[in-house]
């Protein structure tokens, strides 16, 4: 069965369908229905995935533009699979969370939800592409729905934020386009199929230039310090739902691209640039955390925490050990859930009070205990408390990095402590203390909002205690990726485990 095409097809048809529905309420229910169907289909696909089978599964390949060597070719390995699952899980949650977002903008509700489904199709496509050109097409095209979601439905500074978002990403994408063209030309294979291109560029100098073309695009997308400045604006101005998809999924395309394309296509250059990338990542971890502490706007604060977290992910990718790579991949998924929960709950709070500023709140916990409680759990997951899934991934990244790079691992660990400061201090200022006059009558989460938050919290807890199902899928894929670099794990310093056997 062409599972991946079906997933995308259902989303696209759903997007068209939404625009035809005349009634706004019906349109929302329709969107929710479509996104749940996509979720069900994706789960049906995922259970058939065999982690130790072929590298890419559910593959489809058709000629798209033979004149240019371009194919419509899709397929997933473990890494892409979990990221697609992340996307399709988040979309129905975001749809439910955005139930009343569009009215606030006094703009077309149907367009908003239609854009969301278009975006879903593109998110699936970008992770599933096994043709570099197709990947590029999705990589660029997915900017457009997000641009309209931020620009039309966002906060007061929305058009500034939307343009900044679009231009940063477009600029990175265009640099990547040059690298894509050069890759095709230099490889001389007449095809853009990713598996055929692996290992074709032998010259190290060429690799370095092409690596930079791809890497800068991904670093802007991720975003890595110092390319991050668009993210706080975009995330703070976007409606909460769009912010979740932006930070939770779209930005992952950057780190996914580093893992998939930079490492496999340009292994020597990746090794050459590793010190640089690790330095940028570690700076990002600490810088993002420190700047987050200083924020007065909740959404900007969450955005900066993400800058810090993306530092961890990039660190894990470029440490090039199995543990770190698997940890980074798991981190991409967990970060989607934890930041998603934070953004959505913060969004609920902001919608109630009409202000993004921390200083306008205080003592919310007394009037809205459920909201405050779930906010705390989401916050704790962001600071990687053991028992929540983010702990597993952060720990794996740090351990995996430590195996090779002691000092960066040590500095990165301070990020965990700083995380405790920015999360708990924000919680303290908004939720504890005397109840502020303006929040005295805030209602607690209603049934719909509880339904939004519950699955996210559940996922964070389940995978916190039992990450095995995800890791079983991720591990072989990461091993496979690193073996084509090739990067081997350093031998354990202590041989206890072997001797015990």
């Amino acid at each position: 069965m062409p599972w991946l095409s079906i997933l995308m097809g259902v989303s696209v048809l759903g997007a068209l369908g939404v625009t035809l529905v005349r009634n706004d309420k019906l349109a929302k229910q329709f969107t929710l229905g479509v996104s749940l169907i996509v979720l069900a289909l994706a789960i049906a696909m995922a259970v058939q995935f065999s982690p130790n089978g072929d590298k890419f599964q559910f593959t489809e390949k058709y000629d798209w533009i033979p004149a240019l060597g371009v194919h419509y070719a899709v397929g997933v390995d473990g890494i892409a699979l979990v990221l697609i699952l992340l996307s399709v899980v988040l979309v129905p949650i975001v749809v439910l969370a955005s139930w009343h977002d569009a009215e606030a903008g006094k703009r077309s509700v149907r367009t908003y939800f239609s854009l969301m489904l278009v975006l879903e199709a593109m998110m699936i496509g970008v992770f599933a592409s096994t043709d570099v050109f197709l990947f590029y097409v999705f990589f660029e095209a997915m900017l457009i729905p997000m641009y309209f979601m931020i620009g039309s439905y966002g906060g007061a500074q929305r058009s500034y934020a939307a343009v900044k978002f679009l231009l940063y990403s477009l600029f990175g994408g265009l640099l990547m386009l040059v690298a894509v063209i050069a890759l095709y030309t230099i490889a001389g294979k007449g095809t853009f199929m990713f598996p055929d291109l692996v290992g074709t560029i032998q010259d190290v100098n060429t690799q370095k230039w092409l690596f930079l073309g791809f890497f800068i695009a991904f670093a802007i997308k991720a975003p890595l310090w110092p390319f991050h400045t668009w993210l706080p604006d975009a995330a703070a101005q976007a409606p909460a739902g769009a912010a979740v998809l932006l930070v939770g999924v779209l930005d992952k395309v950057g780190t996914y691209g580093m893992l998939r394309f930079c490492l496999e296509l340009f292994p020597d250059a990746s090794k050459f640039f590793t010190p640089m990338v690790i330095t940028l990542s570690v700076i990002g971890i600490v810088y993002g955390a420190i700047v987050a502490i200083g924020q007065t706007d909740m959404k900007r604060l969450i955005a900066y925490t993400s800058v810090s977290h993306f530092g961890f992910i990039a660190l894990g990718v470029f440490a090039m050990t199995t543990n770190a790579g698997a940890g980074a991949t798991l981190y991409m998924v967990n970060h989607g859930f934890s930041t998603g929960a934070l953004f959505l709950i913060a969004g609920f709070l902001i919608q109630r009070r009409g202000s993004q500023f921390i200083a306008d709140y205080g003592g919310v916990q007394k009037v809205a205990p459920v909201l405050a409680g779930t906010f705390l759990v989401a916050g704790l997951s962001s600071l990687s408390l053991p028992g929540l899934s983010t702990f597993v991934s952060e720990f794996m990244v740090l351990v995996g990095t430590y195996e090779k790079y002691l000092v960066p691992a040590a500095i990165a660990t301070t990020g965990v402590i700083l995380a405790a400061i920015y999360i708990l201090w924000m919680y303290q200022r908004t939720m504890n203390g005397p109840t502020a006059e303006s929040v005295k009558h805030l209602p607690d989460l209603n049934a719909r909002e509880k339904w939004v938050v519950a699955p996210l919290i559940a996922l964070l807890l389940v995978f916190g205690f039992y990450p095995k199902p995800l890791l079983d899928v991720i591990h072989p894929a990461v091993k496979n990726t690193l073996s084509s670099v090739p990067a081997t794990d350093p031998a354990p310093a202590v041989q206890v485990a072997k001797e015990a056997q």
Binding site: A67, L68, F138, I144, S159, L170, L174
Partner: protein, 517 residues
């Protein structure tokens, strides 16, 4: 030698598309002379459209019959693969533009009347019109067909003039903002005449060098004739000035914004699509057929011109407040991107045909999107005619989401976002350039694209993210012609953006034979 003159052999079949267009133009002039005023428009429109469609059919027939391998008309006109592809493109674009021209009262009632005078008032009142617009357009289109197909420099010069003179006139016929329109016509005429003179002088110098104005003979004289290099270089430079002027490449771009702004919008659409296509065809022919062996000399200059054109177009567009001026600078920037393709020529035939097919595809993609964009411009109006000031477009997305959505789509295509035709055009050209070793030029190109994206996106921001002004412009209900134009442009932009294969394939086939000598 008894003084008889040998009649030249003419391959009428090969020249048929041009003959049809020119013939219809002459019929149009006769209609102007003899038909009563109230009938003229009703006669002109079918003649014009039918002749363009007929010429298109003849072009297709020519392709089906087999592309000629030898120049026609005693070596004066080369009807080869690229020519036929360019003809097809120009004819379709002209057909679409005529639908726009036909559509509304874009043209002045009495061009001779002083703007704002009683005579003008009276002419307006009587419902007078300039129906000679149609034959003029046909003459211009005929010139556009001949221009890229001419195989010697003198025919090319004649084609250049046949194409340009009617356009000078047409530019001055706008119904509204008449002074601006007349200024545009004068500017275009003076600068155009100046550049024609350059072209002609260049031709003369090249004749002095090679002893022939035939492109192929000039090519074979290169390197053989010694001691005359000064004539050659100055001649090539002057020829280049004439051709680059028509493209609007920097530093010869100054006329473009003024003319695009002042001309009646349907004429702007015709110029922005048809003239650009024809001029690029001619530029390619001259530089490859005649001067291909000299590329060590002109290639660096074209590098500089391409960079300058992209940068000037992209940066100056940012500061524009008039929608038509903005589109003019956008057209300059796109001319720069196309020049990247021209630079991408290499010694190998494979590389040449690759670059050529990329340019041909780009021209088709850009032509349709441009006509569509100008068609949308004609529909957004306020009391004084078209709402030209960008600020008037604020909030259009709320007022008429469909039209604003279509315009936004065209802008995204100009910006080269994937899944639009513009992306594949740019991609093909850049790929050819990288393969031809012009990677630095491509990097400048993508940076310019990013800058250009900014001003396209700015218009989208205005239309969708700003609140509409209280007395904002209204969108007129499009006539059937305009609606058809917009529809065709949207379809072409989507189709070429999603399934570029058929047209790419066609362009590759056309380019395979290269230009014949």
């Amino acid at each position: 030698m008894n003084g008889t003159i040998q009649a030249p052999t003419l391959e009428y079949a090969q020249l048929a598309p041009m003959l049809v267009v020119f013939g219809a133009a002459i019929v149009g002039v006769l209609v102007e002379a003899f038909a009563p005023r109230y009938l003229r428009s009703a006669i002109h429109v079918p003649i014009t459209l039918l002749s363009l469609a007929g010429a298109f059919a003849l072009t297709i027939w020519q392709v089906v019959k087999g592309v000629p391998t030898k120049p026609a008309a005693m070596g004066a006109v080369a009807v080869d693969g690229p020519s036929l592809f360019i003809w097809g493109t120009i004819l379709v674009l002209a057909f679409v533009s005529v639908l726009l021209i036909n559509d509304e009262d874009h043209f002045v009632a009495a061009a001779a009347a002083v703007p704002g005078s009683a005579e003008e008032e009276q002419a307006l009142h009587e419902g007078a019109g300039h129906t000679e617009v149609y034959p003029l357009v046909l003459f211009a289109v005929g010139g556009m067909l001949l221009f890229p197909a001419s195989n010697d420099l003198l025919v090319m010069f004649v084609a250049l003039e046949v194409m340009s003179l009617p356009l000078y006139l047409l530019c001055g016929l706008a119904r509204r903002r008449r002074l601006l329109s007349q200024e545009a016509a004068v500017k275009y005429f003076l600068l155009g005449a100046f550049s024609s003179a350059f072209f002609l002088y260049g031709t003369a110098l090249l004749y002095g060098y090679a002893g022939s104005i035939d492109l192929a003979k000039i090519s074979s004289a290169l390197g053989v004739v010694g001691g005359q290099e000064t004539l050659l270089y100055i001649g090539v430079a002057m020829l280049g000035v004439g051709l680059l002027f028509k493209i609007g490449a920097a530093p010869f771009q100054a006329w473009k914004p003024d003319v695009y702004q002042g001309a009646p919008t349907p004429i702007t659409a015709l110029m922005a699509s048809g003239t650009l296509v024809a001029a690029f065809g001619a530029l390619l022919r001259v530089f490859w057929v005649a001067l291909g062996g000299l590329d060590w000399n002109w290639s660096p200059v074209l590098w500089a011109v391409a960079i300058l054109t992209m940068v000037v177009g992209a940066i100056l567009a940012i500061t524009q407040t008039d929608i038509k001026r903005m589109l003019a600078y956008s057209s300059i920037a796109h001319g720069g991107f196309l020049l990247v393709g021209v630079v991408a020529t290499g010694a190998a035939a494979g590389q040449n045909s690759k670059a050529l097919s990329a340019i041909l595809f780009y021209l088709v993609a850009y032509g349709f999107t441009t006509v569509g964009a100008f068609a949308v411009v004609t529909m957004v109006r306020d009391a004084g005619g078209e709402a030209w000031h960008l600020s008037r477009w604020a909030g259009l997305g709320k007022r008429s989401p469909l039209l604003a959505g279509i315009f936004a789509f065209f802008l995204l295509a100009f910006a080269g976002i994937p899944l639009t035709s513009g992306f594949f055009g740019k991609y093909a050209v850049f790929q050819a350039a990288v393969a031809g070793g012009a990677t630095p030029l491509v990097i400048v190109g993508v940076v310019a694209s990013a800058v250009a994206a900014f001003f396209y996106v700015r218009v989208i921001v205005l239309m969708f993210f700003s609140d509409p002004a209280a007395d904002g412009p209204s969108v007129v209900l499009p006539s059937r012609g305009t609606a058809a134009v917009v529809g065709v442009a949207v379809l072409a932009t989507v189709f070429l953006g999603v399934f570029p294969q058929p047209v790419l394939h066609l362009a590759q086939n056309a380019a395979q034979s290269l230009f014949i000598r």
